[in-house]
């Protein structure tokens, strides 16, 4: 099973993966040792920087008794001009499953077409990031008790932010009402808005954060990504445009969740960290059980009903 975009999973499959992740929590926390993936090798192919995604995939594999190969552009033949196709031919022989992050959009689908082993997209340019979406859904279910019919505000860089591309798609399928808050130059790509609307999702677009958060179940903040701007001056115009501080949360719902794929720059003030609204660090941990569930699924490994 490849996971390139959320289109590769039905709603039922996504829910079933979240249930698997729930059962795997004791292993993810290190409380139980169960080497379900012993003898299996994961190739972590990061052609672009990553902290949480790479490390949580590595932790997920190791907690399940598997091995991890790490490739980065530095020190590999990629720097010598090797094509992605050729690199993937090697990986096909060295690993049982591969995770790929690449600066070019479409790279994960391309890699999947080039090999036999299952491929998971860990971010392709400004494209998709579906494994992040699964951990986001897992986190939302923990905070709200459900993932369907929620009122979700997506904030910041919706144009280049691949996490919100995949997440909005999934939330739309689960009947969310979405408010897309971004400055004009960073609006959600029109083909994504079109897809959301044609799937029956209620979508509103706005440049103003304050009025959107009062009735929100989830406020999903994102970083304005300096590295995706062709021009520094364009970046400076929109950097720091949306910030949340504890004092901004006086009129929000008591169970409103603030999420962020991290790293944050100044979108969420540290004064929020100690409030019940702060979910972003739990969210980062949730990458481990959800990626465990994905690894087991892609390798065809059954997860025991009860893990104690």
């Amino acid at each position: 099973m490849d996971l390139i975009t959320m289109d590769d999973l039905t709603n039922e499959e996504a829910i079933s993966l979240l249930d698997d992740a729930e059962r795997l929590l004791p292993i993810a926390r290190g409380d139980v040792h169960l080497p379900l993936l012993e003898g299996k090798v994961l190739a972590n192919l990061f052609f672009e920087n990553s902290t949480r995604t790479r490390l949580s995939f590595e932790t997920a594999m190791k907690r399940l008794g598997g091995e991890v190969l790490n490739l980065s552009e530095v020190g590999s033949s990629v720097k010598k001009g090797e094509t992605l196709y050729d690199t993937m031919q090697m990986i096909d022989g060295y690993a049982d499953v591969a995770v790929i992050r690449h600066p070019r959009q479409g790279a994960a689908q391309y890699a999947a077409d080039a090999v036999q082993i299952p491929i998971m997209n860990a971010g392709d340019g400004a494209g998709n990031h579906p494994t992040q979406t699964l951990l986001d859904l897992f986190t939302i279910r923990h905070g709200q008790g459900k993932i369907d019919g929620l009122n979700v505000v997506l904030v910041g860089d919706l144009r280049y932010g691949r996490t919100v591309h995949s997440l909005s798609h999934a939330l739309g399928r689960f009947g969310a009402s979405l408010t897309l808050v971004s400055p004009e130059p960073l609006k959600m790509p029109p083909e994504i808005v079109k897809d959301l609307k044609s799937s029956g999702c209620h979508v509103e677009e706005s440049e103003d954060l304050a009025p959107a958060i009062s009735s929100a179940d989830v406020v999903y903040m994102t970083r304005i990504q300096r590295e995706r701007f062709p021009d520094e001056a364009e970046y400076e115009k929109v950097a720091g445009i949306y910030t949340l501080k504890a004092e901004d949360l006086r009129s929000v719902q008591s169970d409103m969740m603030i999420m962020h794929p991290l790293p944050r720059v100044n979108e969420i003030h540290p004064s929020i960290d100690s409030t019940d609204h702060a979910w972003y660090f739990k969210q980062a941990f949730n990458g481990v059980p959800t990626r465990m569930a994905l690894l087991c699924r892609s390798l065809g490994i059954q997860i025991p009903e009860a893990i104690v």
């Binding site: 196709y85 070019r104 959009q105 479409g106 689908q109 340019g125 400004a126 083909e191």
Partner: protein, 155 residues
Amino acid sequence: MSEMRRVSAICNGTVIDHIPSGSAVQVMRMLHIDGSHSNPISLVMNVPSGKVGRKDVLKIEDRELSQEELDRLALIAPSASIAIIRNYGVAEKRQIELGSELVNIARCSFFNCITQNPNEPLPHRLQVVSQDPLEIRCAYCGRAQSLAEIIESLI
């Protein structure tokens, strides 16, 4: 005046009729006919037509276009009629059809798509998401491609 009097009948080859007015040059590009090293070509543009108002017609002598070549035309001339001519007579009429995917017909036009690296060997694949209205996206990066962009990026 009919187009038959503007250019003479051909003995053998392919006639592409009912091309949308003004599109015949694009049709030639799609068929890799550049006019300099090809068979004799007759090109008629903007002639009145009872069926479509005005139309273009292209006659290619001594070359029978394959179905695969003709299917490329579905992008810009979906209602064109095709006749294969042998010995001054219509030997075959062919329909053109836009399939679900265009393989190695045009490159994705998005500057950051993985397929922009000319050394990457896998085929260029554009998916036809919808025929009416026409909506085409790159099978790899998912970006929507306008017809003008596809014509600019023909292989």
